[in-house]
Symmetry: D2
Subunit: 395 residues, 4 copies
């Protein structure tokens, strides 16, 4: 039964179109929605809407859902529309009229935002942890092979001498900046929407600070319309921060795909990281790096989807925003898995020192020759031109 059920039945084609895959994505939100409801019930008891006994009943039933969920046995059905309905229906079935009180003082609009933000905060913490693993792994690479020389490229042409240490260090420093950005986004998201109803408050003296505290939020998000208007905004900031991680992985993948071409041979990977071809028996491909590279583009398009979908809409909730769940949830999963896979690869990378050294050809040192002249007092631009004269053939 739908929460808003009236005297008519929703047309089946409309139900299927409006629910879409939402009930599938909501499956992951069940624990967060239960946590939100547990806090909400506690607050309702304080308001005197439910008695201590009723509150206990609700808590127990919600914990039962949490357990069922962990066992993979709490399933949301399409006709439930979403996790909120599935949970309220379960409560009503389990504890009767008391279950009918759980929705007092809230709307699905603030409820879903509460659940989502708890989920986002978990995702951010998880991503920072995996990013730190990658940083550690890169640091180990610097320690073990940092001094191995490597050609530095600009414009895909040899430029000046670089090293494994300089290369890996770039990603360490970048990944640290990424985690700082993620932490800022966490601060943004760490505002509790609960108690703002459908965007215009609730005619009850909800204790918003209490719910926020119970759920571990830093503070309530004050303005009830802003709560709704920030849907899409916060998600786009989250995905933006994730794209910053993913562009680094995209670049690492681009570097490693080039560096591991047999024509370069600077690095290699064990066989069990390589996939093959259905027709060419010799092929050992690093599909894993190609996919890391490609996932970045998914991320960008998901961020863009959120950004364009939430535009040209008036204030207050609009159903358009439901479709944000898919890109944001996919984006969270994709980022975490991609970092883990890159960490695994870096752990198993083989630096081919001989090939690296062989690649350190004399053209990489042309700038040094300029500076030898500079040290003798030749103005830089004159020194540059003097050396440059040797290099005017085509490429």
């Amino acid at each position: 039964m739908k929460l808003w059920e009236k005297k008519y039945t929703l047309h089946s084609a409309i139900e299927s179109y409006t629910v879409g895959d939402d009930y599938v994505y909501d499956q992951q939100l069940v624990p967060y929605d239960c946590l939100g409801s547990i806090a909400h019930a506690t607050m309702l008891q304080k308001l005197g809407i439910v008695s201590e006994q009723e509150c206990l009943q609700l808590h127990q039933a919600l914990h039962e859902i949490l357990t069922l969920h962990e066992q993979g046995e709490f399933k949301i059905k399409q006709e439930d529309e979403d996790c909120h309905t599935a949970i309220e229906n379960f409560l009503i079935k389990k504890v009767g009229a008391v279950g009918k009180k759980i929705h007092t003082g809230r709307s699905r609009n603030d409820q879903i935002l509460t659940a989502l933000r708890l989920y986002y905060k978990d995702q951010i913490q998880g991503s920072i942890m995996t990013a730190n693993d990658l940083i550690d792994t890169l640091t180990k690479l610097v320690n073990s092979h940092g001094t191995t020389a490597l050609p530095g490229y600009t414009h895909m042409r040899k430029a000046m001498p670089s090293s494994i240490g300089l290369w890996a260090g770039a990603f360490i420093e970048s990944m640290k900046d990424n985690t700082h950005l993620l932490m800022h986004v966490n601060t943004l998201i760490d505002q509790c929407p609960a108690g703002t109803g459908a965007g215009y408050g609730v005619p009850l003296p909800i204790d918003r600070t209490m719910i926020a505290k119970l759920l571990g939020f830093q503070k309530p998000q004050e303005n009830s319309i802003y709560v709704q208007n920030s849907r899409g905004k916060f998600e786009s900031s989250l995905l933006h921060a994730f794209t910053q991680i993913m562009i680094d992985l995209n670049k690492m993948a681009s570097d490693l795909l080039l560096f591991s071409m047999p024509e370069m041979g600077f690095v290699s990977f064990p066989a069990e990281f390589c996939t093959g071809s259905s027709i060419m028996p010799q092929k050992m491909n690093l599909d894993v790096l190609e996919l890391t590279r490609a996932h970045y583009h998914q991320m960008v398009s998901w961020e863009m989807q959120i950004k364009t979908m939430s535009a040209n809409l008036i204030s207050g909730y609009n159903r358009d925003l439901q479709l944000i769940k898919e890109p944001v949830m996919k984006g969270c999963a994709c980022t975490k898995e991609s970092i883990e896979v890159m960490t695994l690869l870096i752990k198993n990378i083989k630096i081919q020192k001989d090939a690296c050294e062989k690649a350190m050809t004399s053209d990489l040192y042309a700038t040094d020759k300029v500076y030898e002249l500079v040290k003798k007092g030749v103005p830089f631009r004159d020194a540059y031109r003097q050396i440059a004269r040797q290099y005017s053939q085509g490429v």
Copy 2:
């Protein structure tokens, strides 16, 4: 067992990351891949690679898969990687050594493209048919309510008199142009990739014209590298054509959401098309139109995903392109369902003639006053300025 299985086992994290959801999307491609293999087997018999008897065995086994698929009983597993592997493994299990011959003269690279293009061609036909249904439904609306007056808007302000007929007619004409574009895209896609291997041909005298003909393609796609390079290109053209349909639906939805606001009241819809609120009992929302509006943005981002994902890659297959399946398949389904839902809505729309007429206020006829002066010989710009003088207050 993977088709390219060698002496080592792929790392489980790499397998999971590289296969991703590909095996799920491939489920829909099973029948198309079987059709491709049936044609391929026939061609192999002509080459003498398989005997008449072997060809028959392969055909029977492939038809068995088709039947199993229809019954929902042919399941691709993650370790299969894709439909091609699942099908080849089934064939080997079923008809032994003969099954090991089916991959002669092809690669998964040309095989998947063949299956996908057969799928696209079906999707295009289906979309054109549903688009024609919408055109018919709009035409009926023109016939029944075409003469009902409606304010014409520019800049979200009343401009000049319009009508239900003019409004609906705009979408009829636009939808016809959309189907022409889809038909052109069909011509583009209607090139058979089979027989080009992994992008560099196969050392066998494959009869590409024969396979193309057997599969109902207009012609083989000649250049084998182009076959691979067109992956992503064709898909982006397909999604572009679909976005042209979806922007029309987005605009229809935007119009209808405004026109059905009680403040306007030009149109209304039956209750069974409306969803409600978990907190506000009076709400009758047209979520269905909001979602139609929003789905357009998904489509654009999916098209964009394909377009950016396939860039900055060298010629020949790169695994990045695997990720194209998700946006293109979702885009096909989304477009078709959105057209169907809009057709259903237009079939059930209620034109509120009284509200429409009441909205035909005098400002809509200001331009007519100008033209009365023009007909009396006043130069247009002078006539305009004379009337305009009445309208200089703010808004």
Copy 3:
């Protein structure tokens, strides 16, 4: 003086914000808008709105503008807002009251669309011609160096033998498909919007077929609301077609940047195509190819800009659409120039036959070994596995 000037003056900040760079982009549209007005005047004469003498005066004045424009002396100022205003003001100054009649029976809404579509048609023709030059140049390359062997790559790893001819042929075939798509888009755009006013017609018996014919359009675009609603749609189709050309150039650039790395050395270019570094005297970079690669991404984002900007808007003109001019005009120029530059590069490419041959290593022929076994009767998959056993080390 603005065409819509009333009793008040537009706030200067609002004028600056609303006009934006529109008057700059309109500079290119002056000749097209004059052509539109010449046809319009002829039609007004037929209606009896202007006399034969007046029509002649208008024609002469409009031809004077065309001449001034060619000499770079017809300048649109910010306070003019757009080319239409600049032209009407010029006419009034030149031929007095007759100039005040030129806007009879039209709106800037249909006027700008008429001018833009004439411009688009010219751009399409120009692009097809330059694309054909590129095809010719590639064909010459096939004729001169087609048989030179080249490694064929998949997954950025050597796959099977390819050749300069196969590589160039891929782009020839692709570019032909691109021009077919452009021709279809031309058909779409080749509909005359003139005579539909601001989207709701004009209270005069405009001869739309006459104007369409005078301007060389295939037909009038019937529905007046569709005329306005197709703004953005047609432009997105145009840019989509151009992105198809640009993705090919992006791929050619990606190939050539890799192939010309000294580590590969398959191709090279004369010095005068290479740029240098301010610090490294040895550098000979192919910035031109990097920029070609990058311009593709501009194109995609411009297409996307048009697509998202025109969504979530009700039917009829909305000022949002003015911003479409910038991406569409930039997109036209970028595509044409990029094709020309690529043609120039291919004309001057140097194929390094020795390096190509040296790169034809034995792994490229592993598939041939499989097929030798197949020819001896070994089922393909068994033959594959037999050869594959030699290739299970990592990469």
Copy 4:
């Protein structure tokens, strides 16, 4: 003369294509590049590369450029390629051989990043100041009209009572979060790239901390490859932060366009903010709001352009990144101007209290009726269903 000039002349078509509009955008960077060079010269003196006297000469010449720039008389020409070349050439002309020393210890790669980041920091400060003006203006609106009732909408349908104060407050709170995000992005950008050369350092003991301090950066950006790799990353974070401001303006514009429709009439604006039509004399349009709405989409596409353009590239500078200047500079200007225009509009908004009150219809209070029953002890869901029964007709 180009900085990298060798024994050949760059092909004119290649020069035109590679320079593009870069020299135009660089015009805005002249002062920042001069500041960078002033600090660089001071540091070179410390290293003993230039004498005290030479340093003074360089400083004077650079200040002369600053003055010329302010007077609009320092013009970069296409053949200069960029501001760095124009400035170095000016210095050499002005102070002879000393000018040839200015480029010692740097590359255009770190030089442009230094100039850009100084520019970004200025843009961020400017945007925060204008955002604060908007916050102040909205606060005044809350103070003057905050208690005026307004219907609160969800799904574009009346939901529950809102007010001018609640509406404006949402944007105040949101804009504050936006400025916090901008401040974080400022922290990210506030890292000095100077002294890292072309991405691989310089063979001189550059005092990077000194330059950073002289230029007011918080710290040097350590890793030289990261300096290059962060190009595009930092810009995308900057534009992301700006899109957060712009989505708020987009929503304000969407609200105000609807609220000011005569059919609603909740707010109005003075005539001097309204533009007209060339054909319809009665029209008073709020083009300014439509364009604000549309500019958001430009911003998103510009951010996306930066994000996709900088992907699939190996570490180190690639010329693709030059194209980032256009979207980032346009994005800065667009955001600032849009905030200013919105502030101007809010300063001049007229709240139509009568229309607002008239719109407070009984359906807005249906939820209150539910809560009256709740207060009498009826479980929420029962109370909801009881009231909902009155509302099951269609819409």
